[in-house]
Symmetry: C2
Subunit: 430 residues, 2 copies
C-alpha cells in the first residue's frame, strides 16, 4: 500500500534528544536528584494527565486557561496534560497527609505541556524538577527550599555572581493592596496580575490597565512607589506603612540567615510576583546574570492554601521548580558543561574479524559483561582498520581484539585507543 510521506521533524515547540543531547539532560537530572537526596527529599511521581478542573482552579489565566492542553477520555471526562506540578502534588499529598509523619519532603522530575508560543528556554513540552515541603510552617522550611535551590546551582559549578536570588512576599503584596482602599477579591487578583507584567509593559500601559480596574491615580501612585523600590530601605522610606509588614520582616530575616550560611547575591525585588494564584507567602526567583542569557531561570514560594481545593484541611506547603531548558542555557552561557557531564561508563568494542567466530565472540562478550564491562559487539565482519575507524567515530576508547589466532592461544587483547597500549588477557572457558 502507498503511504503519504510524513515530515521527520518534531512537532513545533517540542524537541528530540539525540544521545549526545540526552547526556547533558541526564547530567542535569542526576545532579538535581543527588542534591535533593542530600536534603532527605524523597522522589514521587503523578500521572501525566489530570482532570482539567484541577489546573483551571488556581494556575492562573494563562497556564490554567488558554495554554491548557485538554482532551476527553473514554468516559467523557475532560482531562489535561499537566502544565505544572504544584496542584498535582498537592492532590497526591492530600491523600496521605492525615497519617504521614510530617514534614513531607518530596521531589519529582517530570514532563509538562503548555500550548504557548515557543521561545528561547520555553518549549511547549518541558521537564522540571519539583521540590516541595508539606506540613511545616516553620521559616526553616522556606529557608531550606531556598538553600536547596542555591546548592543545586553550586552542584552545577555556578561561579559566584553568575546568578542572583530575588525575594518578595505575597503577604507584603497583601499589605500593599490594603493601602489601596477597599478592593474586592477579584480586583486584588487583577491588580497582582497587572503588576506581574511590570517588566514587560510600559509605565503608561500599566497605569492605563490599573485605572481601567477603577483604581484612582493616587492608588496607582502608591503601587508604583512600591514597584520602584530597589532595596528594602528604599521601600521603608517610600512606604513607611509597610516597614513592619510580616512579609517584609520575613524577607529581611531570610536574607540575613542565608548570608550567615555563606550564600550571597540575595535581594528583595518587588517585581517578583509569580503568575500562579495559589502563592500566599514568601516567593522567589533565581536569575541568570549572564549578559547573553539575562533571565529568570526558575522560582518558587509558599502556597499554604492550595490543599483546600481537595477538601482536606489546608496544610502548609513551600516549593520551587527549575526546568531543564533554562538550566541547560545557564550551563552553556557560563561554559559549565565541558566534558565532565558525559560521565559515560567506559565502552569496549569487540569487532568480528571472521564470521566463523561469531559464537565465540558472543560468548567472550558475555564474559566481559559479567565482569561489569559495557561491550558493543560488531555484527558484520570487519578488517582491523575498519574496526578501529568505527571505534574512533563512536568515541569508544577500548577495542577488544580477538581473531582466530588469539582464540587458538586462549587470550584476547585490549587496545586503548588513546594511548595505543595493548593489554593481553586470557579467556575463560567459552
Amino acid at each position: 500500500m502507498k503511504t503519504k510521506i510524513l515530515s521527520n521533524q518534531e512537532p513545533k515547540g517540542t524537541r528530540d534528544w539525540l544521545p549526545e543531547e540526552f547526556a547533558i539532560r541526564h547530567y542535569i537530572f542526576e545532579t538535581w536528584r543527588k542534591v535533593c537526596r542530600q536534603y532527605g527529599f524523597e522522589e514521587y511521581l503523578t500521572p501525566l494527565v489530570e482532570y482539567a478542573e484541577v489546573y483551571r482552579a488556581k494556575s492562573g489565566e494563562d497556564i490554567g486557561g488558554k495554554e491548557l492542553v485538554t482532551f476527553t477520555d473514554l468516559g467523557g471526562r475532560e482531562l489535561c496534560i499537566r502544565p505544572e506540578m504544584t496542584p498535582s502534588v498537592t492532590r497526591l499529598v492530600s491523600k496521605i497527609y492525615g497519617t504521614a509523619p510530617k514534614p513531607l519532603k518530596f521531589f519529582s522530575i517530570a514532563n509538562f505541556m503548555r500550548n504557548e508560543k515557543p521561545q528561547r528556554g520555553r518549549n511547549r513540552e518541558f521537564w522540571q524538577l519539583n521540590c516541595d515541603i508539606f506540613g511545616s510552617d516553620s521559616p526553616s522550611s522556606d529557608l531550606e527550599v531556598l538553600q536547596l535551590s542555591l546548592d543545586i546551582m553550586a552542584a552545577f559549578g555556578a561561579p559566584k555572581g553568575s546568578f542572583k536570588v530575588s525575594l518578595n512576599s505575597r503577604q507584603l503584596l497583601d499589605g500593599l493592596l490594603a493601602l489601596c482602599g477597599k478592593l474586592a477579591d477579584e480586583q486584588k487578583i487583577a491588580v497582582v496580575r497587572i503588576l506581574d507584567k511590570w517588566q514587560k509593559l510600559s509605565k503608561k500601559d500599566l497605569e492605563a490597565r490599573l485605572e481601567e480596574l477603577g483604581l484612582s491615580k493616587k492608588v496607582v501612585e502608591v503601587l508604583f512607589r512600591f514597584m520602584e523600590s530597589e532595596t528594602i530601605s528604599d521601600l521603608e522610606k517610600s512606604l513607611p506603612e509597610l516597614a513592619n509588614n510580616l512579609g517584609l520582616l520575613e524577607i529581611k530575616k531570610m536574607i540575613t540567615e542565608l548570608q550567615n550560611l555563606g550564600y550571597d547575591h540575595i535581594y528583595f525585588n518587588p517585581a517578583v510576583i509569580r503568575g500562579f494564584d495559589y502563592y500566599d507567602g514568601l516567593i522567589f526567583e533565581v536569575f541568570d546574570t549572564h549578559p547573553d542569557n539575562n533571565r529568570a531561570m526558575f522560582g518558587g514560594g509558599r502556597y499554604n492554601g492550595l490543599a483546600e481545593l481537595f477538601g482536606s484541611a489546608s496544610f502548609p506547603a513551600v516549593g520551587f521548580a527549575p526546568g531543564d531548558e533554562t538550566t541547560r542555557l545557564f550551563l552553556e552561557s557560563w561554559n559549565l558543561l565541558g566534558d565532565k557531564f558525559i560521565k559515560k561508563s567506559e565502552m569496549f568494542y569487540l569487532p568480528l574479524f571472521d564470521g566463523a567466530l561469531i559464537a565465540d565472540i558472543r560468548k567472550l562478550a558475555g564474559q566481559l559483561r559479567s565482569e561489569g564491562k559495557n561491550v558493543l559487539v560488531g555484527f558484520e565482519v570487519q578488517k582491523i582498520n575498519k574496526a578501529l575507524e568505527y571505534a574512533n567515530k563512536k568515541n569508544i576508547s577500548q577495542v577488544v581484539i580477538c581473531g582466530s589466532d588469539e582464540l587458538a592461544q586462549g587470550h584476547y587483547k585490549i587496545k586503548n585507543m588513546k594511548t595505543g597500549e595493548e593489554k593481553v588477557s586470557s579467556i575463560n572457558d567459552l
Copy 2:
C-alpha cells in the same frame, strides 16, 4: 473566593507513585538502563507528542485509531500523545541515518498514553523501555535484541522457567498467506488482525470472521492448521509447504544459537502475531509463566519498512519494549522485590533540640552533606524520644545528636538506630 471541592483521586487509568512505590519503579528503570548500557546502547528521547498522522499510519486500528489521544495545537495542527515509541524513534533516526556510523543502538525510557479500558498491567498512562537497533540486517542484531531481553530478565533475578520466549515471523505468516490463494493487501492485513485474536476468540468466531472476508472453508482450514501447530515439527508435518520458508529457518537458527549461549525456554508460537502493522520479520513475545500472572509481558520484532513513512530510504530496524507495570507484576508474582530494590543511600536525621541552636545545626548539616552524607534536618524543636520516634517512622537508620552540651564540647554523636551504637565525631569550625 469559594472554590468547588475537587477529587484527590488520580484520573481513571493513571496512577500516583508515592515514594515507596516510586522506589520500585526507579529500581526497574535503573536495571533496564544498566543492561542496555552493557550492550552499548545509547539513551535518547523524543517529544511526548507527535503529529497524529505519524501514529495513524502504521500503529494498527486500535493504538493508531480509537485509542489515540489527540488535540489541536495553537497552529491548528492535530497532535497526539505518543501511544508507543517505534514510529517516533524511526522518525528521529531518519533525520540522522545518512551520516551516522551504523548500526545505531538506541534506548529510551518514556511515558505513553492510550485511551483504552484499563485492566491489570495495562493502564492508560504507562512507561516503557524501548531498545532498537537501526542499520543492521544481520541475524546478529535480532539475536542481540533477544539476548538483551533475556539478560534484562536475568538482571531482575528471574528464576529459570519463570518466563518463556515465543518466536514467530512475519515472513512465515506471509508464506502462510501465499498458501491462501490471491489476497489483496488489505485482505492480508485483515487476516493477520483476525489471527492476532487467536487466544481471545472462539474457533467458531474466528471462522466466521475469516469467512466474512471472503476466505473459503479450505483456506480457513489451512490457517487453522498453522495456528494449531504446537512445535516446529508439528508445523513441518501439517504444512510441509512452509518447511523451507526463510522465516521458519530463521526461527530455528535463532532458537539454536540462543541455546548455545545458555538461554532456554525459547519456543516457536504461531499465535504470536503482534498487533502493529509495521513488523516484517522475526517477532517475539516474553510470557510470564506464573499461574497468578500468566500473560504476555512484552514483545518486539523487526520492522525494516517503517522508515519509508518519513521519505528516507528504508533502513533495517529491530527492537522490543517492556513496560513498567508488567515488569512490576512479574517481580511481585515471583517475589523478586524484597528489600534489595530500595537501595536507598543511608539517611542521617539531625533533630533540633533547642531553637537557639538552629544556625549551628544548619551549618553542621552543611558539613555532613559536604562529606557526602544525606541529611534530613528537623525544623521544629523536638525532645530526643520524639526525634527517635520520627526516625523510626521514616525508616531512618542514623540519628545525629547535637545539643548545646555537644556543641560546647565541639562534637556530635551518631546513633545507629538498628544496633543502638553511638559514635562520637568532632565538629569542624562552624
